[in-house]
């Protein structure tokens, strides 16, 4: 076995047998599945409670046209005055009371309707308002001898069919999906870089403070040690990611099996399958088709490369920082600029990409190697010309080589330097040793 393989496998085994690592690998999915469970439970509890709305209808024609939908149920009270109705409804602990007075003109009726409720939600109010509006408008048409069928027949509906300049069909849902998907990709990169980058840093500091380093580098080249460490920790990171994916789905299905509660993910599926509520399902179907419309192959390939490039870039910086300092406290000073750059990348992505994915700011930041992985991953779902991607990747990988070279120099010197924390000036001097 070569030294590189030895170092990588030691680093890998050391990480995955670490108690904290095992705990976070097991507990994080449990936690996430728990949140899914909680959301699922809350939605189901929410859905089960029927909102009872009592109606006093003095017109005699409105109540029968009100549609009780899903959780909202209308119930006709008898002929009561508003004060009596209020008492009765309150005693029944109704969700709301709808009191409709009778007038000649539907407009006057509309003005006089009373809606009494403690905490009606906007959705419920919108629902009632639109139903009443329809009923009263139709009544108004009828009174004025306007044929509703004629109107409906001649009504023109507009749903803009969108298309890109390249001729690809898009929908309103596309934009949203692109944004969400891009953010998820960008965030994943950001998180992976931070979690596993600092793991590498800790591992370097550990070797240094335990004074094992000089024994090791009398057998292997510092460069081998550094790269072996980076690869070993990344493999451990990937293992953790895969485990999370598997465990989250296992835990979710176990939970739903034992507690009989569907998680939100399955709820969405149910919604998709339910054809009764056509409005919701068509939106969801739109989302799905929008997802399928994404340049998925491009996204996957780009993700692999940007992930690799971004991760290598930052992890070698983290390794160099670990080598330059003696302890974690001293590392903060050097971590600060890195953190700021990554957060700037995240903000630039969040603020400029929704506005204009191909705008000049987003474009510039997707060429700068330190920010390009995050910003570009947010842009790619919106479609980025291939040459731009290739150019940006080229810049990224050239910088990766450069940064690894610089990091290796700092690493080589730093691991044997104890005592005072070096200044940036000293770090630059180390490059010349």
């Amino acid at each position: 076995m070569g030294n590189f393989t030895l170092i990588t496998s030691r680093e890998y085994l050391n990480k995955i047998t670490n108690k904290t690592f095992i705990l976070s690998t097991l507990l994080t999915p449990l936690f996430i599945a728990g949140i899914f469970l909680l959301i699922g439970w809350l939605t189901s509890v929410n859905n089960e409670s029927v909102k009872n709305i009592s109606v006093v209808d003095n017109t005699g024609y409105i109540y029968e046209k009100l549609n009780s939908s899903g959780t909202i149920k209308y119930e006709l009270l008898g002929d009561f005055s508003i004060d009596e109705a209020r008492e009765i409804s309150n005693a029944k602990s109704d969700y709301a009371l709808l009191y409709i007075n009778d007038f000649e003109s539907p407009k006057a009726i509309a003005d006089s309707i009373k809606f009494i409720s403690e905490d009606a939600t906007l959705t419920v109010i919108n629902n009632i308002e639109s139903q009443l509006e329809n009923i009263l408008t139709n009544e108004n048409f009828k009174i004025n001898n306007i044929d509703i069928n004629q109107i409906n027949k001649r009504k023109v509906y507009v749903d803009l069919s969108q298309e890109t300049f390249e001729g690809e069909k898009t929908t309103k849902a596309d934009g949203l999906i692109k944004l969400i998907f891009g953010f998820i990709l960008g965030m994943m990169l950001y998180m992976f870089i931070f979690i596993y980058g600092s793991m590498i840093m800790m591992s370097v500091i550990e070797e240094k403070t335990n004074r094992i380093i000089e024994i090791v580098i009398s057998s292997v080249k510092p460069f081998q040690l550094m790269t072996g460490k980076i690869v070993g920790v990344s493999l451990a990171g990937l293992t953790q990611f895969v485990m999370w994916g598997i465990l989250i789905s296992v835990f979710s299905s176990l939970f739903s099996y034992f507690f009989g509660i569907t998680t939100t993910y399955e709820n969405t599926e149910l919604i998709l399958n339910a054809s009764e509520d056509s409005e919701i399902s068509s939106a969801a179907l739109g989302m799905i088709s929008a997802f399928m419309n994404l340049p998925l192959l491009n996204i996957m390939i780009a993700f692999v490369f940007y992930f690799l490039g971004g991760y290598l870039l930052y992890s070698s910086i983290f390794a160099a920082i670990g080598a330059a300092v003696d302890n974690q406290t001293d590392a903060q000073q050097f971590l600060m600029p890195i953190t700021i750059i990554l957060i700037v990348a995240l903000y630039v992505g969040m603020l400029t990409v929704p506005e204009d994915p191909n705008g000049i700011v987003a474009q510039i930041f997707s060429f700068i190697p330190l920010t390009s992985p995050v910003v570009m991953m947010m842009r790619i779902p919106h479609g980025v010309p291939l040459f731009e991607q290739i150019l940006s990747l080229l810049i990224l990988f050239v910088s990766v080589i450069l940064v690894i070279w610089i990091a290796a120099k700092i690493y080589r010197i730093g691991i044997l330097m104890y005592g005072k924390k070096p200044s940036y000036k000293e770090l630059i001097k180390w490059l010349k040793y």
């Binding site: 030895l6 050391n14 335990n210 080249k221 044997l416 040793y433």
Partner: protein, 308 residues
């Protein structure tokens, strides 16, 4: 005699700081070689160059008559002054790992380790972690890891620090045995009594320059001042004292004996012989103590560094 390691005119700069200035050393095969010098003199830099941890700016290093290269890593065992182990790894596992890095395969590393662990009676540490061991215990493990792959050249930087006298002796005996079995040993230490005891050759580095090197015996010969400690029991000690003072350069004694009544140090001039002195002392007195003053490694060290 064949030199196992030859370093020619090694210089190394760190920025504006000169760590080594034109230093050359020859380490004969099979010898125990003391690399001496005050703190910050450049010893560690030289050792790191031999270990290929750092490269010299100028100068060459020959190992076994070949230019030093990565194939020689497995021929060298290095116990640094700043030494440690992985705190969270089991002792046995990390010893195997470190041996594998030196090119041993897993099987032979394991069986060799078992032998050493049995020899040091520490077999029950195999599955322990470093955090469960004392500093001295960890040092034993580090020593084993250094010598395990049977290197031709062993480099020990302050090997006895952290050991109690009993274990220091145990390690010293092991080093002597390894040397007897053919290993060449470089010693870097401040403990002059162990230099005196172990080293055949020494090199003294001060402020990045080599100021002294050679066989320890030769160096001592060069440093001795022809001074003798004498003690007699004489019937006429005052007469003898006057005679000695008139003939020789006498000094206050730097030693102790019992049963004498005249005791002093005498420095001979180049035309005076020690035989004459003995005859004079034997004439009317009983000679109790007669010893040439040989400078200790400690004195040579202090003298050379202070005069540099």
């Amino acid at each position: 005699m064949n030199n196992l390691l030859v370093a020619n005119s090694i210089s190394k700069q760190f920025g504006n700081f000169t760590a080594l200035n034109n230093v050359s050393i020859n380490i004969p095969e099979g010898s125990i070689f003391g690399l001496l010098g005050p703190n910050g003199a450049g010893k560690t830099t030289l050792i790191r160059i031999i270990n290929q941890i750092t490269a010299p700016d100028t100068g060459t290093v020959l190992f076994n008559n070949e230019s030093l290269n990565s194939n020689h890593i497995k021929d060298i065992g290095y116990l640094p002054e700043e030494r440690g182990l992985y705190p969270k790894m089991k002792i046995g596992e990390q010893a195997i790992y470190l041996a594998q890095l030196k090119g041993m395969d897993r099987q032979s590393a394991r069986s060799e380790l078992k032998k050493w662990f049995d020899k040091f009676e520490i077999s029950d540490w195999w599955n322990k972690k470093v955090t469960e061991l004392s500093k001295g215990m960890a040092q034993k493990v580090q020593f084993i890891v250094t010598v395990l792959h049977k290197p031709k050249l062993l480099i020990f930087d302050e090997p006895f620090s952290g050991f109690d006298p009993i274990n220091a002796n145990l390690i010293k005996d092991e080093i002597l045995q390894l040397n007897k079995d053919g290993a060449t040993v470089i010693f870097s230490t401040h403990r002059m009594e162990s230099v005196e005891e172990l080293c055949e050759y020494i090199t003294l580095i001060n402020k990045s320059n080599k100021i002294l090197d050679g066989k320890l015996d030769d160096i001592k010969r060069n440093f001795k001042t022809n001074t003798f400690e004498i003690a007699v029991n004489s019937l006429e000690s005052q007469v003898l004292k006057k005679e000695l003072e008139s003939k020789y350069q006498t000094m206050t004694p730097t030693f102790r004996t019992i049963g004498d009544n005249l005791r002093m140090n005498i420095k001979l001039k180049s035309n005076q012989s020690s035989d004459e002195l003995i005859n004079l002392l034997n004439k009317n007195s009983k000679l109790i103590h007669f010893k040439e003053v040989i400078p200790t490694a400690n004195e040579i060290f202090i003298n050379s560094v202070e005069n540099d």
